[in-house]
Symmetry: C2
Subunit: 244 residues, 2 copies
C-alpha cells in the first residue's frame, strides 16, 4: 500500500497562543498531503471531476500524543488504507523530526455526485492506484453524545471560509467549535482525542450556531459540540481534554 | 544589504474561491520570511524581548501585478531597507518560478515597549545586523480617505485570531475588511493596490465594526475601510480594484 509523506515546518501563523498548531492548520496540512498523493497518482481533482464526482470528508477521529509546536519540523504521512462500496478510509500520521508520533487521524472520505449532491459508489478507476484494501464491512466510530445544555454562539460563514475547492473548508468547523470554549479553557487544557462527524454542508452567508457543553465524567473532561442551523445539525463533535 | 528569500508552494487552504492567495495568507508568509531572517541574524523574538521590546507593524503598502495561484511555487524575498530613530522600513517581493514579480509590499515596523505599550527608539544592537540604511527622513504614505457612508458588519475577535506571537495577528484585519465586500464583488474584482494603516490593537473578545464603502472615481474602483470600536478607529485601509 502506498504511503505518501510531506515535510512541513510549523509556521507562527499556524499556531495559537499556546504555541501549538491549531486544528484548522493540522487539518489543512493533512488534506494537502492527501491531495498531493492524489495528484501524483493521476487521481487529482480534475480526474475525479470527469466522473461528475467530488470528494467529501464525513469523519475525523484524532488521537493526539503531543501537538506540533511553532517552528518545529514535522512530517505528515498519509495512506488510503481501505474502502468498501461507498466509504474510503484514509489515515494520517504526524511525526516529529525524530519520527515519534505526534498525532494520528482516521478519516472517512465519500464521493459525492456534483449534480444531485448524493453519495456515489466508489469507481475502481478512481480508487485503484491507491492500492488500498477492498473490504466488505462498514467501520463504526464511537458515538458522539448530544449537547444537552443550551449554550451557543453564532457565526456567519465568511468569504475566506470558502477555499479554492469551492466549499466551506471543513477545517473551519473547528474554528467555530473551538472558539466557543473561550480563552481560559483553551489555555488551561490540551486536547487528547477528537471525534467529528459531518452531516451536511453549510454555505457562504449562513448564520450558524455553535452549540457546546463541557462534561466531566468517566471519559475525563469532554467538550461536546454541534453546529446547527434552524434546528438541523450540520456537524457533531466530541473532544476529550486533559488539564495542563 | 541583506536580502532573505524563502520558497513557498501555495496550498489550497491559502486560497479563496478565486484560486488565488488570500491577503491573510500573503501577509502570513511574508512575515514568516522576515522572522526567519531575524532568527538567522540572531535578532529573533527572544533577543528583542531582552530589551523589553516587541515589533509592531504599522503600515502595509502593496502593489499587485498578479496574485499567487493555488499550487504555484513562489519565492518571497525580504529586505530591511532603511530605518530612522523610530521607524524601520522593510520591503517584500513575491515572485513566480521564473522570477517575475507578482507583488511587492512596503511595510513599516516599530518597536513597542512591552510594559507601557509606547513606541521606543530603535537600538543599534537590534537593527545593525540587517545592514539597512540609516536615514533622517520619515517616509510618508498616500493618504487613506475616510469612510463616509455608514455601512458595516460586526466581528468578534476569536481565539484563533490571536497567534503564537500573543497578539491579534494583523493578517486578521484583512479578513474583516475583505469579508464585508461580499461574494459578488470579490469574485468580480481583482485587487491592484492596498494601503493599510494600523492605529491601535484590538484584543481577544472585542466586538469590532468593519466599516466600508466602495467609490468609483479618478483612482478607478476603490474600497475604503475602517475597523472601529466605540467610535475609535483601529485600522484604516484603501484598496484599488480592477474588474475581471
Amino acid at each position: 500500500m502506498s504511503v505518501y509523506t510531506i515535510e512541513h515546518e510549523v509556521a507562527y501563523y499556524e499556531c495559537d497562543i499556546n504555541q501549538t498548531m491549531t486544528f484548522p492548520a493540522m487539518i489543512g496540512t493533512a488534506i494537502k498531503a492527501s491531495e498531493e498523493q492524489s495528484d501524483q497518482l493521476g487521481r487529482g481533482t480534475d480526474f475525479v471531476h470527469q466522473f461528475g464526482l467530488t470528494w467529501v470528508i464525513t469523519n475525523y477521529l484524532m488521537k493526539i500524543t503531543r501537538l506540533p509546536q511553532v517552528g518545529e519540523k514535522i512530517s505528515i504521512s498519509t495512506q488510503a488504507v481501505a474502502y468498501n462500496k461507498y466509504f474510503c478510509y484514509r489515515n494520517f500520521w504526524f511525526r516529529d523530526a525524530k519520527g515519534n508520533e505526534l498525532l494520528s487521524v482516521e478519516t472517512v472520505f465519500v464521493l459525492m455526485d456534483m449534480t444531485n449532491r448524493k453519495m456515489s459508489s466508489v469507481p475502481e478507476e478512481i480508487i485503484a492506484p491507491y492500492e488500498s484494501e477492498k473490504i466488505k464491512q462498514i467501520k463504526r466510530y464511537p458515538k458522539i453524545d448530544k449537547v444537552e445544555s443550551g449554550q451557543h454562539l453564532q457565526y456567519r460563514v465568511r468569504f475566506y471560509d470558502i477555499d479554492s475547492n469551492q466549499h466551506v473548508n471543513n477545517a473551519m468547523y473547528f474554528n467555530w467549535m473551538i472558539d466557543v470554549l473561550g480563552y481560559d479553557f483553551l489555555t488551561d487544557h490540551v486536547p487528547e482525542t477528537v471525534n467529528v462527524r459531518f452531516d451536511k454542508e453549510v454555505e457562504y452567508g449562513n448564520m450558524i450556531e455553535s452549540h457546546y457543553e463541557i462534561v466531566e465524567g468517566e471519559k475525563g473532561i469532554e467538550s461536546r459540540h454541534e453546529i446547527r442551523m434552524q434546528d438541523q445539525t450540520y456537524c457533531q463533535a466530541a473532544i476529550t481534554w486533559r488539564k495542563k
